[in-house]
Symmetry: C2
């Protein structure tokens, strides 16, 4: 899972906000999450992602993509589709996805 912070992307780009709550025993989830983080790096137009999960609570992953084509390419990926299917069957209690076109952004970094 990513522990870095994405900053300094110039518009146009999109945020894909994925919020989820896991089942109590999501066996195999962590390995698949690592594999997906490797796989998405190969998608043209993928700009980075950030991920956080409160223990026992919500997880939020934000993916940054240059355009709709790059989001569609990631959605079409067969291994990603298979992981999504398994997520619905085994891992997730709930999830929501919000795809937004970024209109502005700003960053702060301590000196």
């Amino acid at each position: 899972m990513s522990d870095h912070l994405v900053a300094g992307i110039e518009p146009p780009y999109y945020t894909v906000v994925f919020t989820s709550r896991l089942q109590p025993d999501p066996s195999g989830y962590d390995e698949t999450a690592v594999r997906m983080s490797e796989l998405v790096e190969q998608v043209p137009g993928f700009l980075g992602y950030e991920s956080a999960r409160t223990p026992g609570g919500l997880g939020i992953t934000v993916g940054y993509f240059r355009d709709e084509d790059s989001i569609a390419a990631w959605q079409r990926d067969p291994e990603h589709r298979s992981a999504q299917q398994r997520g619905r069957e085994q891992w997730y209690e709930r999830y929501s996805v919000h795809v937004g076109k970024v209109e502005r952004s700003y960053d702060f970094e301590r000196d």
Copy 2:
């Protein structure tokens, strides 16, 4: 902090993605975060938020707002501005904000 999952909002609406890394000892941060979560509820056009933080790692909060006016109203709030100032001075090592207009969304919930 919110531990629920926002779902079922119909466009148009906006996501405000706030990702952050805290300083090692962010004294007073938790109390202010609770106060902000109460305060934002009073903003017309505020639709909800979700928040997650990996212990010792990234925090991600996603705020959902109906329109730019509601985002601007929250940005103008004096108590919020004061908290942001304190955040830059004391709490945050880094943060990024991405404001996006949502084009589509979908949800999954286990039966």
